[in-house]
């Protein structure tokens, strides 16, 4: 497994924890925004440090970090992640409009966790797109 694959697995697994936290604790168990946001922000600060340690190890002294195929996969995955941001924002806006009827209003603080959630899902989609391409052998069409 090369560095791109490791980073993709990391990017796929890591967002699961904050997303699970957001849905379980944030929506069903508490109304406190701090209790939702602070653990997620803390997790996101620690995650890059752990990622550098995990993917820093080389298989061979001459091993390259990434090559032309990785760049091609990343560019396709980036497009997938970018599209997922718009899809997520459209979905979340629709849910909030449907949830809040004419009389109700959404809490402005909810913008923060929703933005973080959108970012995490975009990272997960980006990582999944890389892994799917690796699974298909990085076919170039």
């Amino acid at each position: 497994m090369n560095r791109t694959q490791k980073a993709a697995w990391f990017g796929l697994v890591v967002p699961c924890f904050p997303v699970a936290w957001f849905f379980c604790v944030g929506i069903f168990l508490t109304n406190s925004v701090l209790l939702i946001v602070l653990p997620i922000v803390g997790f996101l600060l620690i995650a890059p440090v752990v990622m550098c340690i995990v993917i820093g190890k080389k298989q061979s002294p001459d091993e390259v970090a990434s090559d032309e195929r990785d760049y091609m996969m990343r560019s396709k995955a980036l497009l997938s992640g970018f599209v997922s941001v718009f899809v997520m924002l459209a979905f979340l806006c629709s849910v909030m409009i449907l949830a809040a009827n004419d009389e109700a209003m959404a809490n402005a603080y909810m913008v923060i966790p929703l933005s973080v959630l959108t970012f995490l899902i975009a990272v997960a989609v980006y990582s999944a797109a890389i892994l799917v391409q690796y699974g298909r052998g990085g076919q170039d069409g």
Partner: protein, 70 residues
């Protein structure tokens, strides 16, 4: 053979060159082992630069290693 109509003899030449490992060839060509595997299996069509590097690793011409069957 890949969709592009390109096939190759990388596996054959690896074994003819002292059973060169995929990792060794990858290190020489400056790519990852996964890319060599994908090229060898015909799942990925390499760039011209990579094709030349792989051929140079075997001290052969590009047309000896890669075959176009359009």
């Amino acid at each position: 053979m890949a969709k592009s109509g390109l096939s190759n003899n990388i596996r054959k030449f690896r074994f003819e060159h002292g059973e060169m490992t995929q990792q060794k060839l990858a290190d020489i060509a400056g790519v990852t082992r996964q890319t060599i595997i994908a090229v060898e299996q015909g799942k990925y069509t390499p760039s011209l630069t990579l094709a030349f590097k792989i051929s140079a690793a075997f001290k052969l011409k590009v047309e000896d290693v890669f075959l176009f069957e359009g």
